[in-house]
């Protein structure tokens, strides 16, 4: 239909050539940590309005900039003609097609920008131009369906007085009071920005109806995580009139979308069908005029991760987490049985749907690529990108397999097992059990490029890696997930030990060479495991809890913790004994396993003080522990040198204490 943007295609050609050759097995080598970090990551695929092209973001490790660098790429809907379309040294994100398909909006911080701004790239040729000069970073970009404006969310700007005081370092601030509402704005193509909604609320998200006449949005009392349960769905006309509240409850609605005819709203909430909090996320539909919300498939065991109306308005498609894998489903909007559109050992993410069908990122054991499913009941699946062909060509990889076992109460537990690259049946291997965060999440097939798992690097060194979906995980029904209530460490730690026993009994794992590791809730669990058994020879705990009572106040959110622990530490007759008994630090004297603790200095979720408590609880009792702290880092490390350091330190710790081997730290490439 139209010419492609006049951009360079060298990268694409190089990758296409690389993908064709298959190296003989003997020249393949184990993946290193750097290899893991260097795997390109495709996210945010966006299909053009005519359904013929796909724009997406590709992240690649930029060791000089010390971060993953995002750039925009485009390709045909069949994956042909892939090429990079933006090149600024600080990167670009959020490609959004204009309704006429002639312009691609995106977000970037370029020359002279204090914060990222919206840019417009004409697809018929020419460079991108800056559209906004907003004082705060615009996010959640969306074109109005008439193509006359782009709507976005952005925090209110500090006042002139606030800026002056910040500049003078007259900057004492008050906890929980130093936030700004996130506002809804629209900018016309001349760059004139106007605020769409005013009032004492934060706009958490918004979406247009298909005809652009209405806007569904979610309003929260503030952007603070603690206020999320008080956010609700609203609908209004696109001119700002006719504001109407759709929901009024104590759970956080997300992913709200108007039906094509504008009469109904779908949304997701981590709630029961009766809108009680802390359940697997469900899909709800409510009348756009208000009224009760109805859960579709109220009794499904899985967790709905994302949902969208099909163009006919009679069907809703969604991605559901089924534990070790996720799949795409369709369900009649009026209710009824769902039908799976995909199957396989994979995790689906970054899903978009439309008249073109579905696009998503599909993660498998050794790759994560963009795929398209054609529309219709039997729509064909097609892989669009081949970013990771080189991985299986160049590297020795660990096979992934679902395993299942019984918890001590007979409940079936699943996990994903990654085998050593040189696996020989009949041989026992050292086993690392890696517990996921959340705990309201699940570990799935894939994660090949996750530098906190470094699965294939482990596999290459001869480790089995078990990622158990212990009690508290999502995708296995509400009773399974809600086992963590009223005590937190109820069955989850026993589920992990039972999984280890299972692999020992199966002749796979060497019981004398066990290690445990995990981040966040996986760190909580690792801390717990080392207090209850000496079976682990080494353990790594990232951003885990030491003391629930102190974490309760320290963290930026408390919403789940009341439920986990049956109360807070400052209410009358507080359950302090329960809080302390469930705190790994209280049993620090029992720890015999050498424990490596990792945390970011700026972690707001499980602040570094928790790691300090755990560290001292172990070392003051004569145990072996080391606490590594990453300056500037939040709950998850993002700076590449920090990411590499935590993996180096982790591998060194396990090699040393579980296997008695020395380890040489991998260097940053290019040094």
């Amino acid at each position: 239909m139209r010419t492609h943007p006049p951009v360079r295609r060298l990268v694409v050609l190089a990758m296409a050539v690389a993908a064709t050759a298959a190296a003989p097995a003997q020249t393949r080598r184990p993946m290193s940590i750097v290899d893991t970090i260097d795997m390109p990551i495709a996210i945010d695929p966006q299909v053009s309005p005519d359904g013929r092209r796909v724009a997406f973001v590709q992240l690649k490790a930029d060791w000089k900039a010390n971060r993953l660098m995002p750039h925009l790429y485009a390709m045909g809907i069949d994956g042909d003609d892939l090429h990079q379309i933006t090149f600024d040294e600080r990167g670009e994100t959020s490609p959004r097609w204009s309704p006429d398909g002639r312009t691609l909006a995106f977000s970037a911080r370029r020359e002279g920008d204090q914060v990222p701004q919206i840019y417009l790239l004409p697809l018929e040729g020419g460079e991108a131009r800056r559209l906004t000069t907003h004082p705060t970073p615009p996010g959640s970009l969306a074109w109005a369906p008439d193509g006359q404006s782009i709507w976005f969310l952005a925090a209110e700007a500090p006042s002139a007085d606030e800026r002056a005081r910040t500049a003078a370092q007259d900057d004492v601030y008050y906890l929980d009071e130093d936030w700004k509402h996130r506002r809804l704005w629209k900018v016309d193509l001349g760059g004139t920005t106007t605020q769409v909604l005013t009032g004492d609320f934060t706009v958490a998200e918004f979406a247009f109806s298909a005809d652009g006449a209405k806007v569904v949005h979610v309003r929260a009392p503030s952007p603070r995580p603690d206020d999320a349960p008080r956010q609700d769905v609203w609908v209004m006309n696109a001119d700002g009139s006719g504001e109407r509240r759709v929901t009024d409850n104590g759970v956080a609605e997300t992913g709200a979308q108007l039906s094509p005819d504008g009469t109904r709203v779908l949304f997701l909430a981590e709630a029961s069908a009766r809108l009680e909090p802390y359940h697997n996320a469900r899909l709800f539909v409510a009348a756009a005029s208000g009224g009760p919300a109805t859960a579709l498939q109220p009794d499904a065991a899985w967790e709905v991760e994302a949902a969208a109306w099909r163009p006919d308005g009679r069907t809703i498609a969604y991605v559901a987490n089924l534990g070790v894998h996720s799949q795409l489903f369709e369900v009649p909007a009026a209710g009824g049985a769902a039908r799976a559109l995909t199957s396989g050992d994979h995790a689906l993410g970054n899903w978009r749907s439309g008249a073109f069908g579905d696009v998503f990122v599909r993660s498998e054991a050794a790759r994560a690529e963009i795929w398209r499913r054609a529309p219709g009941p039997d729509g064909a699946l097609q892989q669009l990108t081949r970013l990771h062909d080189y991985v299986s060509r160049d590297f020795l990889l660990g096979r992934q397999e679902k395993v299942s076992w019984k918890g001590r109460d007979g409940v079936t537990i699943e996990g994903v097992l990654t085998y050593p690259t040189d696996y020989q049946p009949g041989t026992r291997y050292p086993l690392v059990v890696h517990t996921h965060g959340g705990p309201a999440q699940s570990d799935k097939f894939g994660a090949a490029n996750n530098p906190f798992y470094y699965l294939h690097a482990m596999a290459g060194r001869g480790y089995l890696v078990l990622r158990p979906n212990y009690r508290g995980s999502t995708g296995y029904g509400d009773a399974f997930m809600r086992d963590v209530l009223n005590g937190y460490f109820n069955e989850q730690q026993h589920d992990v030990m039972a999984g280890i026993d299972h692999l020992v009994q199966a002749g796979l794992a060497d019981p004398s060479r066990l290690a445990a590791m995990g981040w966040s809730a996986g760190g909580h669990l690792t801390n717990k495991l080392v207090t209850m058994t000496d079976r682990f020879k080494a353990a790594i705990s990232g951003a885990g809890v030491g003391n629930w009572a102190s974490l309760y106040a320290q963290s930026d959110t408390r919403t789940a913790r009341d439920l986990w622990l049956g109360g807070n530490p400052w209410q009358r007759d507080a359950p302090i004994a329960r809080l302390w008994a469930a705190s790994p630090a209280s049993e620090g004297w029992k720890v015999k396993t050498p424990l490596l603790i990792l945390v970011g200095e700026r972690d707001a979720r499980v602040p570094m003080w928790q790691s300090v408590e755990m560290y001292r609880a172990v070392t003051y009792n004569g145990g072996t522990a080391r606490l590594l702290i990453a300056p500037r880092a939040p709950h998850s490390f993002a700076e590449l040198r920090h990411v590499l350091a935590q993996a180096n330190a982790g591998l060194e710790w396990i090699e040393r204490y579980a296997l008695g081997r020395s380890y040489t730290w991998e260097a940053v490439p290019g040094k």
Partner: protein
């Protein structure tokens, strides 16, 4: 002797102000801005001939947002005060050379990356840089022959470590590699340095060169971290690096190690008893320099706390200063008889004390109820100290100074407790006033007579201030201090409340207008008090503890806390009930008092999460509360704008919530009309 014109003008200007004493009726209360602008006089040093004193005086530099120190010199007779240095970043630590011809000092000038040692000719001419050390020298002292200056400095980072830091390849191992060891160095006057100690396995925390210049007594610890202070030990060695001998092995932190003039003994001070158990009032210890058991040298009946100590030139006396609760004094100990006697008397606080053996005199700063710190001289035989400087004449002539009085009352168990009462400046007998009960930090410390500029501002608004030396304070004997052992809040909070009752009984305080504040341990106390009683109408708690369990790990040291609770919270059969029962958080649901919390974001001692725990507890329970956090600040707020914010916010909260009054924030000089934050309630 020369002075420069600028200095003369400055001195004349000061003198001119001082010449016009305001009548009492013209005097007005002190403001917070004035309080911050009061220059602080520190670190006086007598010249070897006893005729001159150099000292450090700072001033508030609002533009730089910090205090800037400069060196001054004054005749021992109080005449001829001149400013000696004028560097933009300031100067500190003046030290006379033994021949009196040079003054060494520390400054960061021009291209310096950090402080270096500079040398100023005493008889005129500019200072010159002596060292170009890769890290900042500190703890300067001259060799007795004047050929070298000793200093302590951290080890330099290796080039690899510097490069990793530059690249932000900077994940660090907590309390393993996030410090550099500190070692003793010497430099000659041309800047040629040599290391006297070195190595990765210890730091030199404190040292004193022997009078003959051949040996040095020092304190070595596994690291410079407070956490490892309990492993500090006293060592002696030759200054050529030979014959290092460790003299102590215990779990107390020693200070002030000094060889006797004959080299036979080493004195040190430590907060221990004769059995080397820590958490006692500091005492003087003596240990044979050749090795052998150390013994307590101060009298066993002494109730005072030793602050600092030094040998007399003949070795027959040990001079020291001692805290007696609401005052401290210069004292003499006869090591032969074990008897101690006070060389001074009076209601004052002595600081920056030193004994100059060449001049045979003591020099120190002294503050009292009537004026901030000035430099004083005292002969080695004691008697009346003579004031040398008159820095604050203009101030005390200009402002209404509060009457300050020592009061005593009985604790619940009959124990006598002391405190300082600041009367409202317009006090008239028979009238009752609001009372701020202001508890000191430590808690192993005491409030002493001194100018207390912030309390002066409250008195200036006709609010009385009580500073109680509650149980746990130093200077009142070990039993008084150790009341907190095995349970922090046994008598301490009751002492504070009974002190308020005493001021009510005096007819001074209005029982319906009681206010509470304190910082650090004074914040712990404030947190406890609001959970214990509703008598206080408003409270401001700075850097206080909420939860002793989490606090135990978070803080940069645990030295006091182990005795308070009798173990760690993580040991087998931990005394966890004691930890929790004494945690203010436990009773947070009882709080009704509107409370403002303040804390520095980088506080290593009572870290910010303690204030967050207390704040969230009150917020959750519907109590009026706020938590103000100062970026970049440690345990005490230093940046001038933060400091003024703290003073404004505290007054605003207490006046608004406690007295239903109004308060207008004082502005930073030069910030014309910019709107200021208000601490008005948010529910």
């Amino acid at each position: 002797m020369r002075t420069c014109t600028r200095t003369l003008l400055a001195v004349l200007a000061l003198a001119g102000l001082a010449l016009q004493p305001a009548g009492a009726q013209d005097k007005r209360p002190l403001t917070f801005v004035e309080a911050i602008e009061i220059p602080s006089v520190q670190d006086p040093q007598i010249s070897p001939d006893g005729r001159q004193i150099v000292f450090v005086m700072d001033q508030a530099d609002w533009k730089a947002n910090r205090r800037v120190q400069h060196l001054y010199r004054i005749g021992a007779d109080g005449t001829g005060q001149v400013q000696l240095t004028f560097g933009e970043r300031g100067e500190s630590s003046p030290r006379w050379s033994p021949d009196g011809r040079h003054i060494a000092f520390l400054a960061r000038r021009d291209s310096d990356q950090h402080n270096q040692i500079y040398l100023l000719p005493a008889d005129g001419g500019e200072a010159r840089r002596v060292t170009t050390h890769p890290t900042a020298p500190g703890s300067l002292s001259w060799s007795p022959d004047g050929s070298a200056i000793y200093f302590v400095a951290a080890d330099a980072l290796s080039p690899e470590a510097r490069e990793k830091r530059r690249l932000q390849d900077d994940v660090y191992a907590f309390e393993e590699d996030n410090f550099e060891q500190r070692h003793l160095w010497a430099t000659d006057l041309d800047g040629k340095t040599r290391a006297i100690t070195s190595g990765r396995d210890f730091s030199v925390l404190d040292y004193t060169v022997s009078m003959d210049g051949k040996r040095v007594a020092m304190m070595r610890a596994p690291s410079p971290l407070l956490e490892h202070g309990r492993f500090a030990e006293v060592w002696v060695m030759d200054l050529d690096g030979q014959n290092a001998v460790r003299l102590t092995t215990n779990e107390i932190r020693e200070s002030n190690p000094q060889l006797s003039p004959d080299g036979s003994q080493v004195l040190f001070t430590a907060d221990a008893n004769a059995q080397f158990e820590s958490y006692h009032n500091d005492k003087i210890f003596l240990v044979p320099a050749a090795g052998g058991p150390a013994r307590v040298a101060t009298p066993s009946a002494a109730s005072y706390e030793v602050e600092n100590a030094t040998w007399s030139k003949d070795g027959r006396s040990i001079y020291f200063t001692a805290n007696h609760g609401v005052h401290n004094q210069v004292m003499r100990l006869d090591p032969a008889t074990g008897q101690s006697t006070a060389l001074t008397t009076g209601d004052h606080m002595i600081s920056s004390w030193s004994y100059a053996d060449a001049a045979g005199a003591f020099v120190f700063t002294r503050s009292g109820a009537d004026r901030p710190s000035e430099v004083y001289l005292l002969g080695a035989d004691g008697g009346t100290a003579r004031r040398v400087t008159a820095v604050h004449d203009a101030l005390v002539n200009r402002v209404k100074v509060a009457r300050q009085e020592r009061i005593t009352w009985k604790g619940k168990d009959g124990q006598t407790v002391e405190g300082l009462l600041f009367y409202p400046v317009d006090y008239s007998p028979g009238q009752r006033y609001p009372l701020v009960v202001w508890t000191h930090g430590g808690p192993a410390a005491s409030d002493k007579f001194n100018f207390s500029s912030e309390a002066q501002v409250y008195a200036g608004r006709n609010i009385a201030v009580l500073k109680p030396n509650y149980r746990g304070s130093t200077g009142y004997g070990d039993a008084f201090l150790r009341d907190m052992v095995k349970g922090y809040f046994k008598n301490a909070h009751l002492d504070v409340l009974l002190g308020a009752d005493a001021v009510i009984a005096m007819g001074v305080a209005d029982p319906d207008r009681l206010l509470k504040t304190g910082w650090s341990a004074g914040g712990h106390m404030t947190n406890k008090i609001i959970t214990f009683t509703d008598r206080f109408k408003a409270a401001v708690s700075g850097a206080g503890a909420a939860n002793w369990i989490s606090m135990y790990a978070q803080s940069d040291h645990r030295a006091f806390r182990t005795p308070w609770f009798g173990g760690t919270p993580w040991q087998q059969n931990a005394p966890i009930d004691l930890y929790w029962d004494h945690s203010p958080l436990k009773d947070a649901w009882k709080v009704r008092t509107p409370t403002l919390f303040l804390v520095g974001e980088a506080d290593p001692r009572v870290p910010m999460p303690q204030s967050v725990e207390m704040y969230r507890a009150l917020k959750y329970n519907g109590v009026t509360t706020r938590l103000g956090i100062a970026p970049r600040e440690g345990h005490g707020w230093q940046e001038l704008r933060h400091k003024l914010h703290e003073l404004n916010a505290r007054m605003d909260w207490l006046v608004t919530h406690g007295l239903k009054g109004t308060y207008t924030w004082e502005q930073v000089p030069g910030d014309n009309g910019a709107p200021r934050p208000t601490t008005t309630a948010s529910q």
